[in-house]
């Protein structure tokens, strides 16, 4: 008799176990596995007795500690500050708290801080999806040059293209903050989408040296900000999108883009393409967009030229606004000086800039700790002590408090 084919009846039934039940079972499996691993060792200890315990203690104290992983992505590793995730092809990084980070092809993400209570990353480029385990102990902060995304437990995607930043929330709630975000902060819920336009670069002077980019910047005005918030129908709640008030600017070369309009970036016009006008004011010298300086520094570091990267960051910071991008650039400069160039005084100065700018907020404690360390290394003991004491006052629960306590001690 032929066996009739039919659709599985399971499709007509409620799930055998729902997600919560399956997650609970998985925790039980994990606990049982851990117990199974511990139990035999307990039995061995009982059998072996005091002599073996003493020998083990000797071995444990004498055994050299394995070097700490550097953040390379092989096996179980720690995502240390400075670790970088590049994705030539799409890939997903699974973290041990159950969270996932999915990088689209060509996306790049850098870890700025990885501590018990927070995980701070910078999306350098491309689209990165975050599935943060709800109820986890860490606050996740995603920095970009256009905005900061803060979240505790949710799923969302951050895409940094050449022209804009897009944040899409699949689950939960995220807060998007930034100078270019309408009203400086927007609360996004599931299904909502926010686009923040990159500043438009109006006129670019040709670089003197083809290898070196221009070194100053025309800052965008709030009126040049373009943002778009969309939500699925029916939307849970309309997200307010206040129009930024136009602010007079000395040289607004392009008309401000209207709110809720597609973003267009005009092709740069080189000053040398037209004949110079003797009565006209000197041409604007326009630096690359803020993201470019960090990308440029990254490229130079990758090419083994950290000193040149530091020089370019220094030049950029000389004319930059005190915004999150400048804060990131200063932080990168400080790290280069401290970790690769052995220039602690320069590092301390750069971290001081991060603290003076006050943005991104998420890396302030790391910057202060690094500044204290750099001051100590450069021989400025009193200044180091002061910085360490400031750290302990500002970040009493910070990850570096033990080290700072040692530095702060007289």
């Amino acid at each position: 008799m032929p066996v009739p084919d039919r659709a599985p009846i399971e499709a007509e039934l409620t799930p055998a176990l729902d997600e919560a039940e399956l997650a609970q079972v998985w925790r039980r499996v994990r606990d049982a596995q851990a117990e199974a691993r511990v139990a035999p060792s307990r039995r061995r200890w009982v059998v072996a007795g005091v002599a073996v315990a003493a020998a083990a203690a000797v071995v444990l104290t004498a055994w050299p500690r394995a070097p700490r992983p550097s953040g390379a992505l092989h096996g179980d590793v720690t995502l240390t500050a400075g670790a970088r995730l590049d994705a030539p092809v799409a890939r997903t990084v699974a973290l041990d708290d159950g969270s996932r980070v999915a990088l689209a092809p060509a996306a790049q993400l850098e870890v700025l801080a990885n501590e018990g209570d927070k995980f701070v990353t910078a999306v350098r480029r491309g689209k990165v999806g975050f599935d943060v385990r709800p109820g986890g102990p860490r606050k996740w902060i995603i920095e970009t040059d256009l905005a900061t995304v803060e979240v505790v437990g949710t799923a969302f995607a951050v895409e940094r293209s050449a022209t804009e930043l897009a944040v899409t929330v699949d689950r939960g709630v995220v807060m998007v903050r930034g100078e270019r975000v309408p009203g400086r902060v927007v609360r996004l819920t599931a299904g909502q989408h926010l686009e923040v336009a990159a500043p438009e670069v109006a006129v670019a002077a040709p670089p003197v040296d083809a290898d070196r980019p221009p070194t100053t910047v025309v800052s965008p005005t709030p009126a040049q900000v373009t943002a778009q918030v969309t939500a699925p129908a029916p939307a849970p709640a309309p997200v307010p999108v206040p129009t930024p008030a136009p602010v007079p600017t000395p040289a607004p070369v392009t008309a401000p883009a209207p709110v809720l309009a597609p973003v267009t970036v005009p092709a740069p016009v080189t000053a040398q393409a037209t004949a110079p006008d003797p009565v006209a004011p000197p041409p604007l010298v326009v630096a690359p967009p803020p993201r470019s300086i960090i990308d440029r520094a990254d490229e130079l570091v990758a090419q083994g030229q950290p000193a040149r990267a530091a020089d370019e960051l220094t030049a950029y910071l000389a004319g930059a606004d005190r915004d999150a991008t400048a804060g990131l650039a200063a932080f990168l400069l400080g790290r280069l000086a401290q970790d690769q160039l052995a220039q602690p005084a320069r590092a301390a100065s750069a971290f001081g800039q991060v603290l003076a700018i006050g943005s991104p907020r998420a890396i302030q404690d790391e910057a202060l700790a690094r500044q204290a360390r750099a001051l100590a290394t450069s021989g400025r003991v009193d200044a180091a002590r002061g910085a360490a004491q400031a750290y302990l006052q500002r970040f009493s629960a910070g990850a570096h408090r033990a080290e700072m306590a040692r530095l702060a001690a007289p």
């Binding site: 179980d76 092809v89 501590e115």
Partner: protein, 201 residues
């Protein structure tokens, strides 16, 4: 200075991969090296089917959860015994079915002390299922209860859970020919019980 509380552990990368394209065979190979993420992926991918096997056979969600737990604990302990990593689903089904048989044996013992009020297929029908279909499910459920385990298990795996014939054979630890024979016998018995045989006549 007061003692400093120990900080929480930093986040660790447990793996880097494109999860969607990792095959069962790759996951098994990685789990064998102690890759915790691979184990979790195996669980997430196959736990719903294992739960379905357990619940549709045992008709009890609590017992089903216990079977799922036992199944994966055993699977991870005995993963090296899996000859064909690509046949992971059927192999997990076999472990689950063996645990179900064990629980059935206990249920037979407990039958003398407790009254069974296990759920029927109609009880767990989804909200969108029509009343007529619910009635059919109730009839089908009554027919399944009359079947011996040797016939009931392959039929449930094949037509309720949706296993392929090969997977049913693996899960039931028998040949493909035997599976086809059991399914045919089960069909005949179900038809007889539900009156479909009469209708055809």
């Amino acid at each position: 200075m007061s003692a400093l509380a120990s900080p929480r552990a930093r986040l660790q990368v447990v793996d880097v991969t494109t999860a969607l394209v990792v095959t069962d065979a790759e996951l098994v190979a990685r789990a064998l090296t102690g890759d915790a993420w691979a184990e979790e992926m195996i669980y997430r991918r196959h736990a719903p089917q294992v739960a379905s096997v357990a619940r549709r056979l045992l008709r009890d969600p609590v017992e089903a959860a216990d079977v799922v737990q036992d199944t994966f604990l055993i699977a991870f302990q005995q993963l090296r015994a899996l000859a064909e990593p690509a046949a992971l689903r059927g192999w997990l089904g076999r472990i689950a079915v063996s645990r179900v048989h064990r629980r059935w044996r206990w249920q037979r013992v407990r039958f003398w002390t407790t009254q069974g009020d296990d759920e029927s297929l109609a009880d767990v029908a989804d909200a969108h299922v029509s009343p007529e279909r619910c009635t059919e499910l109730a009839l089908l459920d009554g027919a399944l209860r009359t079947l011996p385990a040797k016939l009931q298990v392959p039929w449930v795996l094949r037509h309720v859970v949706g296993y392929s014939l090969d997977e049913v054979a693996t899960a039931c630890d028998c040949s493909l020919a035997s599976v086809k024979r059991y399914l045919a016998k089960a069909e005949a018995a179900i038809d007889l019980h539900t009156g479909r045989e009469d209708a055809r006549a």
